[in-house]
Amino acid sequence: MRVAVIRFPGSNCDQDAFHSVKDDLGLDAAYVWHEDHSLSGFDAVFVPGGFSYGDYLRCGAMASRAPIMEEVRRFADEGRPVIGACNGFQVLCEAGLLPGALLLNAGQKFLCKDVYLRAENRTSMWTRGVDKILRIPIAHGEGRYVADEDAVKRLEDSGQIAFRYVDSAGEATDEANVNGSAHSIAGVLNEGGNVLGLMPHPERASRALLGSVDGLQILNALKLVASNR
């Protein structure tokens, strides 16, 4: 299992992603520059967080049109695992690999703190076997997930809502919905379940020293995929 960590100008969670995969999961990882055209030799893709292209125009807009994204699209279409966290989620939405979009937090502020997530899907490639409630940090100014009501209903019906923001008791309250996302959505899957986008940072919750290992439960999917090959 070799994981590609995509790097755009302005990515800043690339090293966290790299080390969570390499050191915490014990899998092989390598950086791939956004202008590259090949994912040959890779088995999974991690689109990391940051501020690709300075968040100019819209978060993830320019990055989603970078040369490597054509390859990421092909990779995803083949049913292979792709994860995007934070800016990576924004990039995957802008690329059309995931439905919806991310807007400025309803409360305007940049939020950097631990949140509780409720796993709404625990059967997909990415969410198989994760605990019902996870504690993982967020760090974003533009994480308010939006999609029209029909789209949200389709997501709900097809089990594509991966995670919701909840309180410590697992309730999706208004207070727990930190950024004002539609239906408290924190992460979504594509139809095939092989592409996951989420605003929280699993790579920042990958060892006890970081305060939580719950993120590793999600990233562990990479290990399961590797062992099934």
Partner: protein, 77 residues
Amino acid sequence: MTTVRVYVTLKPSLLDSAGRTVAQSLGKLGYSELQEVRIGKLIELKLETYDEARVKEMCNKLLANPVIEDYRIEVAP
């Protein structure tokens, strides 16, 4: 050369939280008649030749995100 202005605005159904903040500030400055502020983008393009279809293509491919935004093209006189 033709100057084209593309106005990109958030869909009316979506909360413009930056606009809301500006509205609150204007309210504090005493503009009590204010009901809403919505903030959009003005993107100015200078083109050697103007082809509406191609500018629309630019909007759909990159300048606007149809999931959250509307756009309007205006050719400068």
